[in-house]
Amino acid sequence: MDNHSPVPMIELRHVEKYYGDLHVLQDISLSVRRGEVVVIIGPSGSGKSTLCRSINRLETIDSGEILLEGNPIPQEGKKLAELRAQIGMVFQSFNLFAHMSVLDNITLAPVEVLKKGRKEAREEALQLLERVGVRDQADKVPAQLSGGQQQRAAIARSLAMHPKVMLFDEPTSALDPEMIQEVLNVIAELAKEGMTMLIVTHEMNFARRVADRVIFMDGGQIVEENTPDCFFSDPASQRARDFLHSLHAE
């Protein structure tokens, strides 16, 4: 891990966002270093998904700054598209393109955005599919795959863009229990390879295993930032203690 890099990969400064009267992000400041894995946890409605999505401007913010490698994210147009191409995003509901084969899903952006040759893109896509373990599904359409396979293909689709950072927005929340592990393993593998990642999840064991840092959000605020070991064994804040307690009670 390169802790000495002066410029953080992602930095949020005093970010505020409202949905009408609802103050969903309250003075959020946060930075993610190169190669760091940051896991955000918190009850639903705490603003963690909104925070994650605001980094590539799928959600707009009302004030504050979001920077990628020290540069503020553009508001629109080609510049914004170029920025998004550098940030991988994995969604809760996979969001593979329904009318394309899995392989075409993965080669689309490299060919259209990075202007790669078709053949080169195809070869790399197959390697990525191999890596996430769905190589044999390459020619099927998304609806023919299980949820776990779709999500792994979606991760491969993001990786094909060689992103500087990966955002995961509750990547296993829509999956049947028996498929969660296969997806988490792929993400853990990426963590091991040094990918910078921001992960919103409800999987506490996974968080403890892969996170360099845990951020606990509640009511639109960052309540606690801690190492995973400290957070899960002895959280500093009362709200985090209550949250963890409620999970065990279930």
Binding site: R57, Q75, E76, G77
Partner: protein, 283 residues
């Protein structure tokens, strides 16, 4: 997750530059539409179509009573025609679930009525039927062909409604000892009917539109009465415009009703019978 129409999420929230561009294009579009409207108004005034003589009779009670009488005939023809087409459509739909021969005949009739324009049926009732010795009134000469023309579409709508009822419903009824017949009429069809109420209302609109050909058989519907008014007041444009607006408004209301019902059915997982009963009476 965002819901709603593609209109709400196709474009992302604009940045400052885009917002400025949208404002400019909005201005240009508004200007263009106003110019278009201005040209229309200008054409009306240049040709003297705003003259009082073309519009003043709309303030008279008799004008509206006369148009209202025509409208009543139109609605009567549309509702009667729809009722007949629903009956015929129901029979054809039942035919689709019978033995090979009846199913074949039903399929043929459905495809035939769906593939032939209403006007051809109207000409048939206008030109051929009277020669057979049966002389239906003008009302039936427009209502029957409209009904026949619509029945195939109704049959298909009803059939897709029946197919949309989960198979478990039928199996459960049969396993309780209900006969096939009772199962269909007591369990399957009432549920199917609720599914298809929106398409039946949409079909009513189609029948209503088809009745505008009533002038072919000289039935005194809204269109025909408009023609009489025109010869009285020598005001072609104003009267036809008003009549067109009346048709558009009625059909718009019916279509909106149909979409509302379809929307509320999509929203409610468990359908509440009471909410649909009042509407079913209209279909």
């Amino acid at each position: 997750m965002k819901t709603g129409s593609i209109r709400d999420y196709l474009y992302e929230p604009p940045g400052p530059h885009t917002r400025k561009r949208i404002r400019i294009i909005t201005g240009i579009a508004l200007l263009g539409l106003l110019v278009l409207l201005g040209l229309i108004v200008r054409q009306f005034s240049v040709t003297g179509q705003f003259d009082a003589k073309y519009w003043s009779f709309f303030t008279k009670w008799t004008t509206w009573r006369f148009l209202g009488q025509g409208l009543l005939t139109t609605l009567e023809a549309a509702l009667t025609g729809s009722a007949i087409s629903f009956t015929l459509g129901f029979l054809l739909m039942r035919g689709k679930f019978q033995g090979k021969l009846i199913r074949g005949i039903s399929t043929f009739l459905i495809e035939f009525t769906r593939g032939v324009p209403t006007l051809l049926f109207i000409y048939f009732f206008f030109l051929v039927v009277p020669k057979t010795g049966w002389k239906p009134s003008a009302f039936w000469k427009i209502t029957l062909p409209c009904a026949i023309s619509a029945c195939g579409v109704v049959a298909e709508a009803l059939r897709s409604g029946v197919n949309a009822v989960p198979g478990g419903q039928r199996e459960a009824a049969l396993s309780l000892g209900l006969s096939e017949r009772r199962t269909f009429y007591r369990i399957v069809f009432p549920q199917a009917f609720r599914f298809v109420i929106p398409s039946l209302i949409a079909e009513l609109v189609i029948v209503l539109k088809d009745t505008t050909f009533a002038y072919v058989v000289s039935c005194a519907d809204l269109m025909q009465n408009a023609k009489v008014l025109i010869s009285n007041y020598d005001a072609m444009l104003s009267i036809y415009l008003v009549v067109a607006v009346i048709y558009i408004l009625i059909n718009y209301l019916l279509n909106t009703l149909s979409e509302r019902i379809a929307g509320s059915q999509r929203r409610s997982v468990q359908m509440i019978p009471e909410t649909n009963k009042g509407v079913a009476a209209h279909g």
